[in-house]
C-alpha cells in the first residue's frame, strides 16, 4: 500500500544515491522548509475558509460563495488583497519591535510544527522530548503578542497585550498539567511513544474519567491560549476594537491572523495526538476484525480527521458563547481549572501506579 | 394631591408665583431668583415629593427667556410645570438644580449650549452638542448663521 512515509523514504534514498550525503541533507532541509511554508499557507487558507463557512451556517448565512468553486478561492483573494496593501507603521511606534512581532509569533507556530506526527512514520523531527518541546516553545508566542501591543504605542493595544499576557501565562499551567496526565500514563515524553501506546485504544477511552477531565481542561485551556472566543479578551472586538493588533495592517496583520489559525491547528493536532491517538486508527481491544478494517483507512486521514474535528469544536465555541470578563477569566483558571487539574493529576498518577488503565 | 393643595404649598414658599391651569398640568410662573428655594421645597416637602424631573428646557420669548421644568412625583403621581422667567437676555442666570435632580446636569448643559442660559453653581457647565468655540446660541430667535441656516 502506498503511504506518505514510503514516498518520503524513497525520496530520501534517491537523494542519498544521487548526491553526496552533505548535499542530500541540505536539499532535504530546503525541501522540508518549503513544504512547511506551503503547508502553513495552505492551512491558513483552509482554516479561514472553514471558519467563515462554519460561522455562516451557524448564523443563518451561506458565507463566501462567489470566488472560485463555491467560494473556495475567497481566502486566496483576501490574501492577495492583504499582500498588496500597505503595511502602515504608526509614527510613535517602536519600529523594530513593531515589525518584528508578527514574525516572532509566526516563527513560534512554525517551530511547533516540527515534532507533530502527521501520519504513520511521517514526522519532521522525531525528538524524544516532544511534549516538553511543545510546551516550552508555545510559551514564546506570548512575547510576540506583548511586543506587538507595547510597541504599537496605542492604549487599546497595550490593554490587549496585558490581558493576553495574563491569560496565556495562566492557562499554560492547566494545559501543561492536562498534557502531563497522558505523559504519566505513557511514561514517555516522545510523541511517537504516546501514539504507539494507543495501539489498543485511545487514551480518552482507556484512561477512565480522569483523562476525560484532562481532555476537557486541555480544550478549554488551549482555546484560551490561542486567544479564541470565549477567551478572546486580547482582541475583544467590542471592547478594545482589535486589541493587540489594532495598529497592524496589510500583510503584518495577515501574519497574526495566519499564526492564530496555525496555532489552532497545532493545539488541536497535539490534543488529537495525546488523547485521540494521533494517526492511530480506532482500535478496540481484541476485536481483530474491526481493527483490521479500521487499518484500511490511511493514517493521515485519521490524523487530519481528528484534528479538524477538534478545530470544529473550537470554532463552535467561538460562534456560540459570549466573552468572559478579565477577572472572571482569571478566576476560572486559578480558582477552578488549576486546582481541578492538580487533583486530577494526582488521580491519574494513582491510576498509572496501580496499573488500572486498560 | 389636588392642584389647589399644590398651589397652596407653593404660595407659601414663593408668594409671587402665578398659576395657569388651562393645560393638562398645573403651570407655575415664577421669577428666576425664586427658583432654588422653591425647587428644594418641591423636592423635599413630604406632601409634594416631586422626585422626577422628566423634562428641562428653555424658551426664547424675544423680550426675555424662560426655563421650563416638567416635574412629576413617582409616589403620588401628580405633575407640575414650573416656568422660571429670566429677564436679562444678555446674561441670563439661574440657579442650578443638579443637586436636587441629578439628571439636570445634562439637561442644563443642553440649555446652556443652545440657549445660553448660565446655571449658577453647575459643576461642569460646558457646551454639550456644539464645539467649544461655537459662537452664539442657536435656539435663540435672533441667532443668525448665513452659511448653515436656510430661511424659508
Amino acid at each position: 500500500m502506498l503511504s506518505i512515509a514510503e514516498i518520503a523514504n524513497s525520496l530520501q534514498q534517491w537523494l542519498m544515491a544521487t548526491f553526496s550525503p552533505g548535499w542530500a541533507t541540505l536539499i532535504e532541509f530546503v525541501l522540508v522548509g518549503t513544504l512547511v511554508l506551503s503547508f502553513f499557507a495552505f492551512l491558513g487558507l483552509v482554516l479561514v475558509f472553514m471558519e467563515r463557512k462554519v460561522s455562516a451556517y451557524m448564523q443563518l448565512r451561506v458565507g463566501p460563495n462567489r470566488v472560485g468553486f463555491r467560494g473556495t478561492a475567497q481566502t486566496l483573494a483576501d490574501t492577495i488583497k492583504l499582500v498588496v496593501k500597505e503595511g502602515l507603521t504608526p509614527d510613535g511606534a517602536d519600529k523594530f519591535l513593531f515589525n518584528f512581532a508578527p514574525f516572532l509569533v509566526l516563527i513560534t507556530s512554525m517551530l511547533l510544527m516540527a515534532p507533530i506526527a502527521f501520519a504513520k512514520d511521517f514526522q519532521i523531527w522525531d525528538i524524544n522530548i516532544g511534549v516538553l518541546y511543545i510546551s516550552a516553545v508555545s510559551s514564546i508566542s506570548v512575547i510576540g503578542v506583548l511586543m506587538a501591543g507595547w510597541s504599537s504605542n496605542n492604549k487599546y493595544s497595550l490593554l490587549g497585550a496585558m490581558r493576553s499576557g495574563a491569560q496565556i501565562v495562566s492557562y499554560e499551567l492547566s494545559a501543561g498539567l492536562a498534557i502531563m496526565s497522558v505523559v504519566i500514563l505513557v511514561g514517555s515524553l516522545s510523541l511517537n511513544d504516546i501514539i504507539a501506546s494507543q495501539q489498543n485504544g485511545w487514551w480518552i477511552f482507556k484512561g477512565h474519567i480522569p483523562v476525560i477531565i484532562s481532555f476537557v481542561i486541555y480544550i478549554i485551556a488551549v482555546t484560551a491560549e490561542t486567544n479564541r472566543a470565549p477567551f478572546d479578551l486580547a482582541e475583544a472586538e467590542s471592547e478594545l476594537t482589535a486589541g493587540f493588533h489594532t495598529e497592524y495592517s496589510g500583510m503584518k496583520f495577515a501574519l497574526f491572523f495566519l499564526a492564530e489559525y496555525v496555532n489552532i491547528f497545532i493545539v488541536c493536532a497535539i490534543g488529537a495526538t495525546l488523547f485521540l491517538g494521533g494517526w492511530m486508527p480506532l482500535h478496540i481491544g481484541s476485536w481483530e476484525g474491526f481493527n483490521h478494517i479500521m487499518d484500511f483507512i490511511p493514517s493521515s486521514v485519521w490524523f487530519m480527521g481528528k484534528t479538524f474535528f477538534l478545530i470544529f469544536v473550537i470554532m463552535w465555541f467561538r460562534w456560540t458563547f459570549p466573552r468572559l470578563r478579565i477577572d472572571q477569566l482569571l478566576n476560572l483558571e486559578w480558582k477552578y481549572l488549576l486546582p481541578i487539574s492538580l487533583f486530577n493529576l494526582l488521580l491519574v498518577t494513582f491510576i498509572a501506579l496501580m496499573g488500572w488503565h486498560f | 394631591m389636588t392642584n389647589e393643595e399644590i398651589k397652596a404649598v407653593i404660595s407659601e414658599y414663593s408668594p409671587e408665583a402665578t398659576f395657569d391651569e388651562t393645560g393638562t398640568w398645573l403651570n407655575v410662573m415664577i421669577q428666576a431668583t425664586d427658583w432654588l428655594p422653591l425647587a428644594e421645597a418641591l423636592r423635599n416637602h413630604s406632601a409634594l415629593d416631586f422626585d422626577y424631573l422628566f423634562c428641562l428646557t428653555g424658551v426664547d420669548w424675544k423680550t426675555h427667556l424662560s426655563v421650563v421644568y416638567h416635574l412629576t412625583s413617582k409616589k403620588y403621581g401628580h405633575s407640575l410645570v414650573v416656568k422660571a422667567k429670566l429677564d436679562d437676555r444678555n446674561d441670563p442666570v439661574i440657579e442650578t438644580v443638579c443637586g436636587i435632580w441629578r439628571t439636570a446636569e445634562f439637561h442644563e448643559r443642553e440649555v446652556y449650549d443652545l440657549l445660553g442660559v448660565r446655571f449658577r453653581n453647575h459643576p461642569d457647565l460646558r457646551r454639550l452638542f456644539l464645539t467649544d468655540d461655537w459662537k452664539g446660541f442657536p435656539l435663540r430667535k435672533d441667532y443668525e448663521d448665513p452659511i448653515n441656516m436656510i430661511k424659508l
Binding site: S55, W319, P322 | N27, F54, C55, V59, T103, H107
Partner: protein, 371 residues
C-alpha cells in the same frame, strides 16, 4: 486635545472610546479614566450627530415637522411620530377614528418588537456573542417586510400623521402579522437557550451596572432602565393614550436594577407586545383611518405636551405655539438622553468589558440623544 488624551498625573489611563468604536452603536464619544482595567470616570462627549432638529422644526409646518422625528430614534420611528401627532391633535382638539387608534397601537407594538430584537442582538454582540445578532435579524426582517408593505419604508417610517394614519393598512397586514407572531413565539425559546440561560452571559450581566430606584428616578431614567430598578414608569399604564387602558397587559418590572434585570424587562416587554398584538389583530374596527383635517394646520396659542412610551422609554414632545402654522419652540424629551446621564454613575468601578455591557443594556441610540 493631546493633553487630554495623555496619562494624567495620578497615573490614570485616559482612553477615548469612540466616536468610531464598534460598541458605541453610533458616534458616541466617551472619555474614560482607568485604573488598570477598572473605570474611575466616564465622560460622554455628545454632538457628533447633532442636527439641531428642534431649530429646524421651528421653520417647518405642523404637517412637516413630524418627519424629522423619524430620524431621531430611528428604531422607534412610529412612536416618535405618534407623540408628535398626538401633540398636534391635542392642540387642534381633534378626535381620531377608532380604526386609526388600533392601527397606531399595532404599529407601535411592532416597532417596539423590532427595536427590542435589534437591541437583543446588539446586546449579545456587546458581550462577545455574534451569532444572536443574526438570529434577531431573521425575525426583525419579517417586521420590516410588514412595515414596508403598509407604510413604504423599512427604517425611517413616516406613517402617523395628525388625525390618524397616512394610508390604510395593506390587505396582507393581518395575515403577515399573525404569521410573524406565530413564528416569533416559536423562536423565543431559542433566544432563551442561546443567550438568557447561558452561564457566561449570566455571569457577565448579573450584579453589574446596578442602579438603585432612587438614583434611577433622580437621573430621570425611564423605560426599561427605570423598570429594571423597580420604578413603575410605563406611560402606557401611567398616562394611557390611544386606548391602551382598554387592553389587558402588565408592566414588566424587576427590582435588581442590574444589567440582567434590564435584559429581563426587555424580554418580558417583547412578550407583552406580542400579547397586545394578539388582542388587537382580529379586532381592527372598520371605518376611516384618518380624521378630516384642514390642509393647513394652525395650533391655537398655548403649550402642548404629549408623551408616549417608546422602546427606550418616555418620549415627550413639548410644543409652544404662538398661533401660527409653525411651532414657536419645540422640545423633544428623548429617553436616551436621560438614561445616558446615568452612565457615569452606573459604570464607575466596573471593568472595561462591563462598560460595554452597560451601554448595551441602556440601549442607547445616538441620534436620539444628539437630536
Amino acid at each position: 486635545m493631546l493633553e487630554e488624551i495623555g496619562t494624567t498625573e495620578q497615573g490614570d489611563l485616559v482612553i477615548n472610546v469612540g466616536p468610531q468604536h464598534p460598541s458605541t452603536h453610533g458616534v458616541l464619544h466617551l472619555v474614560i479614566t482607568l485604573n488598570g482595567e477598572t473605570i474611575k470616570k466616564v465622560e460622554p462627549h455628545l454632538g457628533y450627530i447633532h442636527r439641531s432638529i428642534e431649530k429646524m422644526c421651528e421653520s417647518l409646518t405642523y404637517r412637516q415637522f413630524i418627519y424629522s422625528t423619524s430620524r431621531m430614534d430611528y428604531l422607534s420611528a412610529h412612536m416618535n411620530n405618534h407623540a408628535c401627532a398626538m401633540a398636534v391633535e391635542q392642540g387642534l382638539g381633534l378626535e381620531i377614528p377608532a380604526r386609526a387608534r388600533v392601527i397606531r397601537i399595532l404599529m407601535s407594538e411592532l416597532t417596539r418588537l423590532a427595536s427590542h430584537q435589534l437591541w437583543w442582538g446588539a446586546m449579545a454582540m456587546d458581550v462577545g456573542a455574534i451569532t444572536p445578532f443574526f438570529h434577531a435579524f431573521r425575525e426583525r426582517e419579517m417586521i420590516n417586510d410588514i412595515m414596508e408593505e403598509t407604510c413604504g419604508a423599512r427604517l425611517t417610517m413616516n406613517y402617523m400623521v395628525p388625525g390618524g394614519v397616512m394610508f390604510d393598512l395593506h390587505p396582507n397586514f393581518q395575515v403577515k402579522t399573525k404569521d410573524f407572531v406565530r413564528f416569533f413565539r416559536s423562536k423565543f425559546d431559542e433566544y432563551d437557550e442561546l443567550v438568557t440561560n447561558n452561564i457566561i452571559f449570566q455571569e457577565r450581566m448579573k450584579n453589574v451596572g446596578r442602579i438603585s430606584a432612587e438614583d434611577a428616578v433622580s437621573f430621570g431614567c425611564s423605560g426599561p432602565v427605570a423598570r429594571a430598578s423597580g420604578v413603575s414608569s410605563d406611560i402606557r399604564k401611567l398616562a394611557p393614550y390611544e386606548g391602551y387602558d382598554q387592553l389587558n397587559f402588565t408592566e414588566a418590572l424587576e427590582t435588581a436594577g442590574d444589567n440582567y434585570a434590564r435584559y429581563l424587562v426587555r424580554m418580558q416587554e417583547m412578550r407583552t407586545s406580542l400579547s397586545i398584538i394578539d388582542q388587537l389583530i382580529d379586532n381592527i374596527p372598520e371605518g376611516d383611518f384618518q380624521a378630516k383635517t384642514k390642509a393647513v394646520l394652525k395650533l391655537p396659542k398655548g403649550e402642548y405636551y404629549s408623551r408616549v412610551e417608546t422602546a427606550r422609554g418616555d418620549f415627550g414632545v413639548y410644543i409652544v405655539s404662538e398661533g401660527g402654522t409653525t411651532p414657536y419652540r419645540i422640545k423633544f424629551r428623548s429617553p436616551g438622553f436621560s438614561n445616558l446621564s446615568a452612565l457615569d454613575h452606573i459604570a464607575r468601578g466596573c471593568k472595561i468589558g462591563d462598560l460595554v455591557a452597560i451601554m448595551g443594556s441602556l440601549d442607547l441610540v445616538i441620534p436620539d440623544i444628539d437630536r
